[in-house]
């Protein structure tokens, strides 16, 4: 039996990594949602239920400052929150339940994160798309103005969530309290994140500070795509790309450090 020696080359590595991530995504789906009732569909039904619930409460309570129509404002706000929040939170404890799988050479720490990131981003995306389509088809809100702009905003936010997820995930692998502290920070960060206000509504001297938060820039761009000229959106795309790139690089560096110290059980 003479199987040829495995030659490390890029395409082959890519094929292996795709295979591994695919297997990990399936593994996550099975343990999180099982094969009962609607199974993997919970991936997007869960966030959809969340957003719908919040929408129902807001509509009943009517606390909304009537500057923009309530339904699309809440849908855009909560969908973006779920995208970054769930994605980052799921990375905090990605290694521990999967530690045993690191016995397989091709399963690396970064794959554990990527599998969870993909699943969360996919869930939030399908949820957002389905809700928007259903609600605008039902006439509860008007259809979005510029789908391309929304797509760009969504991708940039997913990129931010991915970078932060990798960062929080690898830092908490090295230092337990990070995950706990992150949960507090993410909660406190919620009102600042841009989901519940437009930058135009806040005093001019704090606007530039708000725009330093990548989630604010993304949400502004997303809402410009939704409402068109009905809103005056503020954002800095160049800053956003720089911030995301920097975060991603730092995250990859941390993962590299962590990969040497994390071991199978």
């Amino acid at each position: 039996m003479d199987r040829t020696a495995p030659q490390p080359d890029f395409l082959r590595s890519l094929a292996i990594q795709t295979r591994v991530i695919g297997a990990l995504v399936m593994r996550e789906i099975i343990t999180r949602y099982g094969r009962h009732n609607i199974g993997f569909m919970w991936v997007f039904v869960e966030p959809m239920m969340f957003t719908t619930g919040v929408l129902a409460v807001w509509s009943l309570v009517h606390t909304h400052a009537a500057k923009l129509p309530l339904v699309p404002f809440v849908v855009t706000g909560y969908s973006t929150v779920l995208l970054w929040r769930n994605t980052i939170n799921r990375c905090g404890n990605a290694i521990e339940p999967n530690r045993a799988l690191l016995h397989h050479r091709n399963v690396r720490v970064v794959d554990l994160f990527i599998a969870r990131l993909l699943l969360e981003i996919a869930g939030a995306t399908v949820s957002f798309m389905t809700l928007t389509t259903l609600l605008s088809a039902a006439g509860v809100m008007s259809a979005p103005e510029d789908v391309l702009k929304i797509g760009v905003a969504w991708l940039l936010l997913a990129w931010f969530a991915m970078s932060m997820g990798l960062l929080i995930g690898s830092l908490s692998a090295a230092f337990d309290p990070v995950d706990r502290i992150w949960h507090v920070i993410s909660y406190l960060f919620l009102p600042l994140s841009g989901a519940f206000y437009m930058v135009d509504w806040i005093p001019a001297h704090v606007q530039s500070w708000a725009l330093l938060l990548p989630t604010v820039d993304c949400t502004e761009l997303l809402r410009e795509g939704f409402f068109g000229t009905a809103v005056h959106a503020h954002y800095n795309l160049l800053y956003l790309v720089w911030a995301n790139t920097l975060l991603l690089l730092i995250a990859l560096f941390c993962i590299r450090r962590v990969s040497v110290t994390v071991e199978g059980e």
Binding site: P6, A23, R27, H104
Partner: protein, 215 residues
């Protein structure tokens, strides 16, 4: 061929870094059978995990020019909340093997029956070992890494492992870690002793044993 060149592995402990492997070099050719002896805590399992690539060394270099199994050991390698079958499916996906072709063999060899549909965390260590062994036999490797695992199970399971691994796959390379003298004596042509982070090879298994017993 597998080549280890001056491999160093340190773990962080509360009382500072602990060096487990301090410049280990080793060469394993096609079909080599190597036994590794060492006291408890000498770093045998660490060495096996480094060879497999499950852990990365802090220094030195590991070159693998043949396909190497994961370390077949009592625990590990399985996700506890997944059932036996889902773990088989996962491992087949990771190694690019055909699940539908592998499952009948795993069912037959592991003799786990209905327990294959139970979460692996409910298994005893013997059951895990049987599952690990069965899956690794369903996927072909050039080199098998065996960490004590042949010491579990009953006589009949030993016999099955012997036939499947040492007879049918006698052309493969194997690296075996075992406390039990007869395992290494029966199956290995080469033997090393791991002590104080250094790996030393002896001309034959008996010489290695004599040295090991004098530690």
């Amino acid at each position: 061929m597998i080549h280890l060149d001056s491999v160093i592995k340190r773990y962080r402990t509360r009382s500072g870094p602990h060096t487990v492997l301090n410049g280990v070099s080793l060469r394993i050719g096609k079909g080599d059978k190597l036994g590794i002896l060492g006291r408890n805590g000498a770093g045998k399992s660490t060495l096996i995990r480094i060879i497999s690539g499950a852990e990365l060394p802090n220094g030195g270099r590991v070159t693998r020019l043949m396909s190497v199994s994961w370390p077949l050991a009592f625990g590990g390698a399985f996700q506890g909340s997944l059932t036996g079958i889902d773990n088989v499916r996962f491992i087949c996906r990771v190694y690019g093997a055909d699940f539908n072709a592998s499952l009948p063999f795993v069912e037959d060899f592991s003799e786990l029956g209905k327990f294959l549909k139970e979460p692996v965390k409910t298994y005893s260590s013997g059951m895990r070992a049987r599952l690990a062994f069965a899956i690794s036999m369903a996927i072909e490797f050039d080199c098998f890494l065996i960490d004590e695992v042949i010491s579990v199970g009953d006589a009949r399971f030993h016999e099955k492992c012997r036939r499947e691994l040492f007879e049918k796959r006698h052309d493969r390379a194997m690296i075996i870690v075992s406390h039990e003298a007869h395992n290494i004596r029966d199956y290995c042509a080469r033997a090393c002793v791991l002590h104080h982070g250094m790996l030393r090879e002896y001309p034959d298994v008996d010489a290695a044993y004599t040295a090991y017993n004098q530690l």
